[in-house]
């Protein structure tokens, strides 16, 4: 394998995906630099989450190539991509509802450790894992709920657990699928500062409809519509672009 050195965290080349006759990704090409903060916008059904699913490996594209840190991962299973430093959160909250918050975050940590194969030693013996999980919960402000099951906490808190699970993995590339969806104003600003405090070397791609909050976090913006990249570039350039206003912001 070629050494995993690249200026780019993620390169997408001419990606295509169709569900039957419906083309959800049409010759999409994108390049995200290491540590870049990218916002993806577009109306409902523009193919944003589908694009995420192809990057994370949940879906296979029909054609095209995806490179993570220089490595061609187009045919990689999702778990292999995670081991290259990719983490994601879900638009529809996907947590282990019967387990405690601490256990949820611990699973995030465990996913990248060789000890996930250990069968002869109770998980509770790994004190360092528990400590690390609680520290991560502390950074998202949920330490006081660490021992509660996910089913008992509020929606906004679940969103933060989603984030904590991804952050615990210390990813080099993070995909956030509508991290602010359904949050109150206070929660919104909490999560916003959380995202802002993600280490600079981590590249972040975020899908978000709340432009007021999301634009502050973004350096670059990509506008998708009908599965195509319409505009792509520096934030202010994209926002000022006429096509953006036409498609998304309304004229």
């Amino acid at each position: 394998m070629t050494p995993l050195t690249s200026d780019y965290a993620l390169e997408i080349v001419d990606l295509n995906k169709a569900f039957g006759g419906l083309k959800v990704t049409q010759s999409v090409s994108l390049a995200i630099r290491q540590g870049e903060r990218r916002l993806i916008i577009g109306p409902n059904g523009a193919g944003k989450t589908t694009l995420f699913n192809q990057i994370s490996g949940d879906m296979r594209p029909n054609s095209g190539q995806i490179r993570l840190f220089g490595a061609d991962v187009t045919k990689f299973a999702p778990y292999k991509r995670a081991h290259l430093g990719l983490s994601r959160t879900y638009q529809i909250i996907t947590l282990f509802t019967g387990d405690t918050l601490q256990h949820n975050v611990t699973l995030g940590l465990l996913g990248l450790l060789p000890s996930r194969w250990q069968m002869w030693r109770p998980l509770s013996f790994y004190g360092d894992l528990a400590g690390e999980a609680r520290r991560t919960l502390d950074t998202v402000g949920l330490l006081h709920l660490a021992d509660h099951p996910v089913s008992e906490i509020a929606y906004g808190e679940k969103r933060r657990v989603e984030l904590a699970m991804a952050l615990a993995q210390k990813p080099r590339m993070l995909l956030l699928d509508e991290p602010l969806a359904g949050l109150s104003n206070t929660e919104r600003s909490t999560v916003k500062s959380l995202i802002a405090s993600i280490p600079r070397e981590t590249a972040v791609i975020m899908i978000e409809h709340d432009m007021d909050t999301a634009l502050d976090l973004a350096e670059t913006v990509t506008l998708l519509n009908y599965g195509r990249v319409i505009v792509d570039g520096e934030r202010d350039v994209v926002i000022a672009d006429e096509r953006t206003r036409e498609v998304y912001l309304g004229s």
Binding site: S87, F96, Q118, M119, P122
Partner: protein, 311 residues
Amino acid sequence: MKWIAAALLAGLLLLLPLFAGDFYINLASQILIAAIFALSLNLLVGFGGMTSLGHASYLGVAAYISALLTSRYGFGHGAAAIISIAGTIATAAFFGIIALRATGLGFLMITLALSQVLWGLAYRMSDVTNGDNGIAGLTRPMPFDISLDGAAAFYWFALIVASIAFLMMAVFVSSSFGSSLKGVRDQPRRMAALGFNPWMIRWITFIYAGFWGGVSGLLYVYYNKYIHPTSLSTTSSAEALLGVIAGGSGTLGGPVVGATLVLLLKNYASAYIERWNMLLGLVFLFIVLVMPTGIVPGLSKLMARLRRGSR
């Protein structure tokens, strides 16, 4: 409280042959064997979310290999046991590759079909397996030159094996791997995104469950000194599954309670009613209606409610 109850139960199990007659000692041995089998099936059904209707395959493969090697090819029990377990593991590994192409109902149907193939072989390949006559005249092993022919001696032997099996499976489900398994059961997509390989986790569990199924198969053939194709049949797979679900799948105590219940019904009811399966069905129906999650979770919920009520 919990520790006292556990100590009492351990003492009772250990000393049972001192106060019980041979009939009850033998019944207890059978329960221990069925409990190991149910616990191993529960790794798949309860903790892995893989409902198998072919788990008797592994009990049967181990039992048949051991029976053939010791009776026909003059192997000692030690070597025969090792080869039977190795054979069971290989079978489970191979069946796992086929069955895990599917999940849910598809998985269930494949495990059922595969076990039917083995059952058919045991029945029809009569020059090897003796077909419907089964293989009789088998012996029990003599570990450390101790004869296991007495009811009490065999019971203690089965108790040691069952205790080790219970402990190992208890550690397994509470381990990192066990947590991965439960995670894959609940949210496979998420687990994959977190870096876990769902297929590999399921496959290893499938093999591990097959291994303990094989251990129970060895005990089974030692106990009965006889093996017949019915041991491999869908009925025995289904009986065990019934026990797991009735007792409470995904708990450690559930399969033990469920297996005990099935065995007791089988032993007592079959003395009075010819169609004891019907009674088993009714009891099962009653349990599922009253305690949908099984006896053990149902009772612990009830206890919790009573405790809250008395305060």
